[in-house]
Symmetry: C5
């Protein structure tokens, strides 16, 4: 997964049927801008966890998407799980 | 997904049978040029949403493609869905 | 998909059984050199369409490959499908 | 797979249900920072093997993740298996 | 596929169960260092063909790996298959 920041969203009237009902967020990452389906109700300014590739579509929903926001980060700390 | 702009299309007489009937658009993205199957009737100059990888082939069609134009963007705003 | 140019081929006597019978072309792309299974009888100098990732293996054949040449381009024009 | 070093972890209260119970490590790699699900109890400073893409989710668990830490390296030597 | 050169191997005592019995080679490619499961008995200095992504795991074995050495190259020539 990658860490990114939500900067906005995109809108489309003319899209593939299978994309209906999805909210697409614009997420800035160190690797560039990604448009990702929102799975957690993220908003502008949120620091989020981004899943990309086939997995984004297969586990949480059944839409033809290749990127999904799957978590809003509380903090990015230095704590390591025991 | 990535945001790109349609700049043209490619033609091929000699191609794998499974590619018949597809329209392939040339899409310019920040990551370079991608050739993508058209799913929404996009044309030159359209700002589009591009899905890449396995998902492009699995959800909207059954052709051996790794990139698809799945939406024409209305606007890329700063509005965040509630 | 990516557009590339065939510059040669590679040979291997010692390879995984599942790769037997495949022709592997060396294809130069803007992203670097890729070795891809030939699906259309492409030759040196041909401008081709390259499919990468899982899709390359799943739709046209059943070999463990991650790149395939699936079309020889006639021309890369500026015509947009109606 | 890629070799990386664990530098910390991330926390999220608001995440997709399917991510519950996973520990997410921050791993630095030559290609940038990746957040990966821990499969081996790795901690800060460990040099680890990182699997990315669909495979990360399919073989060791069933969560919608695209990166997993699957091994802690003993040493990265120059020994080649016979 | 990518062409790379084997430079060594990595060892791990603490790893996911599903990785037992695999030999992991360090392969240098134009895109950086990759750790790949050996499928052909390659050794240090061998010029090899590297398959990456889901395909590496699905076709030749059933381990959670994302890269595999699937062939040792005889030569990288300029000959094009007829």
């Amino acid at each position: 997964m990658k860490i990114g920041t939500v900067t906005g969203s995109v809108w489309s009237t003319r899209k593939a049927d299978c994309l209906q009902g999805q909210t697409f967020l614009v997420v800035e990452t160190p690797d560039g801008t990604v448009v990702a389906a929102d799975q957690v109700g993220a908003g502008r300014g949120d620091k989020v966890l981004l899943v990309t590739g086939t997995v984004a579509a297969r586990f949480c929903m059944e839409s033809p998407i290749d990127a999904a926001v799957v978590a809003i980060l509380d903090q990015e700390g230095r704590h390591v799980s025991p």
